[in-house]
Amino acid sequence: MSPFDKAWSPYAAGILIGLLQIPAFLIIETALGASSSYVTVGAAIAGLVDPSLLKIEYAAKHVAANAKNYWQVALVGGIAVGAFASMKMSGAVRASISPIWAKALGSPSANLRYAVAFVAGFLMLFGARIADGCTSGHGLSGMAQLSVGSTIAVAAMFAGGIATASLLLRRI
């Protein structure tokens, strides 16, 4: 398990991710999560155009300058840096769009993929904010805490994901 390897076992990676709960709980008094940061960044940007958005309590709560909000924004920013560093250290080279999309969407069109990705991102965050958590917050953290609601949300997430990948996407 060297940082220069191209692949680690899913178990090694999963254990490392699980251990991140320790600093999250000890330093920030929260569990790992990712989707709230989209509200923090999105509402901060949209608030410049429409300041009335920040009068909505939900948006105001997420842009408030506290450790938890900005910790999560830094966390997802760090994810991009960490993935970039890992790729460079192993010398992995990737196409600009994963080769699976031409098969899954039945078309090699980059513009089609960009449009689907935009809609997918919208659905992901709209759904995650309704459920109050995503794969990280409900999945990793909620299940580890034996949360009843998170377990239901994760089951629904996989049900929605499996149905969509089977019915709307072609076999990759």
Partner: protein, 205 residues
């Protein structure tokens, strides 16, 4: 709670470790995530369950010894189901979840930038709709955890969950070794394996 500066600094460091692990395991790859949702690639579930079991173990210790308080989310049946279904549909079409979208951007996937922008629009749209949705759909609920339902301490349930997950992972690994799910190159594309000679089946090291 810590200061904003401590939050940003620790978040950045933790994010780098998180992103590193996501790239090394390939779990952030569209091929791995769509493959999991089409039930033909099991790396995502393995990483996920290993992380849940590890989290349960460390929280059994930290909470059992009274060092930290648990932070479970409220149980909101309708919101958890409706939101979870929409989120799951988005994950399959994105080939990513909200966190791994950033890992995809980090390795240079251009479509992930559109996923991110769509996600920001989705989060803002929800913020506008939240006052209405919270009344009509989301509501409020108790912060239920399973061990409270059966009146045992959290740490006992957490250790039992971790043990159960270890058994499940051992069985999964026997049924399908993780190296078989890596694909022939770094992008987690399994399909090439079918047309290639057996010598290429060995994953790149």
């Amino acid at each position: 709670m810590s200061s904003v500066a401590v939050g940003i600094f620790s978040g950045m460091l933790m994010g780098i470790v998180f992103g590193f692990a996501l790239e090394k395991s390939r779990v952030f790859e569209p091929g791995i995530i769509v493959g999991q949702m089409q039930l033909r690639n099991w790396i995502m579930l393995k990483v996920f369950l290993a992380a849940v079991a590890t989290g349960a173990l460390v929280l059994a210790f930290l909470n059992g010894f009274g060092i930290v308080k648990l932070q479970p989310k409220a149980t909101l049946y309708a919101a958890d189901i409706v939101g979870g279904l929409i989120l799951g549909a988005g994950i399959s079409l994105a080939g990513a979840c909200p966190g791994t979208t950033l890992a995809q951007i980090g390795v240079g996937y251009r479509d992930a930038i559109f996923t991110l922008i769509g996600g920001l629009f989705g989060a803002v749209a929800f913020s506008y709709a939240e006052p209405w949705l919270s009344k009509s759909l989301i509501g409020t609920g108790p912060k239920l955890i399973f061990t409270d339902l059966v009146n045992i301490p959290y740490w006992q349930g957490a250790l039992a969950l971790a043990a159960a997950i270890v058994v499940i992972l051992v069985l999964m690994e026997k049924a399908r070794p993780w190296r078989d799910d890596l694909g022939s190159d770094v992008d987690g594309d399994l399909a090439e394996k079918v047309t290639q000679p057996p010598s290429r089946l060995v994953p790149a090291e």
